[in-house]
């Protein structure tokens, strides 16, 4: 996928390039994508945040975004919307590696995690290579 195409997609997702969180209210949930194969941030990767309905188990999309040059995606969710429950971060890894002219064993990565204490900050990074990835709970 070309950089021009990625920019077009980014404009569709965030047309005003504004973070989805309210100004002055940093998101209580953050992520950071690192390309461990090349030792660089995983920039321009499309991602989605979902929350699971506890009654139906259906997933509802909360945010779409694209990582910046640091591999981060500010404004994932507002503090008001950050309720206890099961969430999922979906990373479009195939498109990311294709933009680098590479293939990847993982067409996408989904990280499902449970939020119990919304007074805490949650940092869910993704460290990625073509044949491995890891994640951990940070703060």
């Amino acid at each position: 996928m070309s950089l021009k195409r990625l920019q077009t997609l980014k404009d569709h997702i965030l047309p005003d390039h504004k973070p989805t969180a309210m100004a002055g209210s940093p998101s209580p949930l953050t992520t950071h994508v690192l390309n461990t194969a090349m030792g660089v941030p995983g920039s321009n990767m499309i991602l989605f945040l979902h929350r699971q309905d506890p009654c139906t188990n259906a997933w509802t999309q909360i945010t779409t975004g694209i990582t910046n040059e640091d591999g981060r995606c500010p404004g994932l969710i507002t503090k008001e919307n950050f309720t206890p429950g099961v969430y999922k971060l979906y990373f479009e890894t195939a498109g990311y590696w294709a933009s680098l002219g590479e293939t990847c064993f993982y067409p996408y990565v989904e990280i499902v995690f449970t939020i119990t204490n919304t007074e805490q900050k949650y940092h869910i990074p993704l460290l990625l290579s073509r044949f491995s990835y890891s994640t951990y709970r940070g703060s």
Binding site: V86, F105, Y106, Y108, E110, V112, S132, Y136
Partner: protein, 131 residues
């Protein structure tokens, strides 16, 4: 809306042991929090195609899943391995931030032989593939 036809295959340990020698996919789960193999974890392999097939197996005393699928069924396409980590941690009276772990991968060559590793703790996990 497509019509999903799926089959679930529950492997017995005997069948798994018999098939393990020729299985193109093996899985190993390690509990890095405790420094031990993750034993008796429910693992399922899903072939994500129009004919969805699910294979179910428990990890053995080494944390391994052997003989999960035979060579004829391991055709090119997209697969998902789901690890029921929540149940596993509960059996140890522990909790985890990850209620389950799913690893999705693509098989491009039918002759590929893969070993999928998963290292878990209550707050993290790492997966890598050996070909």
């Amino acid at each position: 809306v497509g019509l999903w036809i799926f089959t679930t295959v529950q492997l017995t340990m005997a069948a798994a042991a018999t098939a393990s020698g020729s299985s193109p996919l093996s899985i190993h789960v390690l509990n890095t929090g405790g420094g031990i193999p993750a034993i008796k974890m429910d693992v399922s392999l899903h072939r994500l195609s129009s004919e969805l097939i699910i294979w179910n197996i428990l990890t053995d005393e080494n944390g391994c899943c052997l003989g999960m699928i035979n060579r004829e069924d391991f055709t090119p396409g997209m697969y998902k391995v789901r690890f029921e980590t929540s149940s596993y941690w509960e059996s140890l009276c522990l909790t985890s931030i990850h209620p389950y772990i799913e690893v999705v991968f693509t098989i491009r060559r039918p002759e590929q032989r893969l070993h999928l590793n998963l290292l878990i703790s209550g707050t993290s996990y790492y997966t890598y593939i050996e070909s």
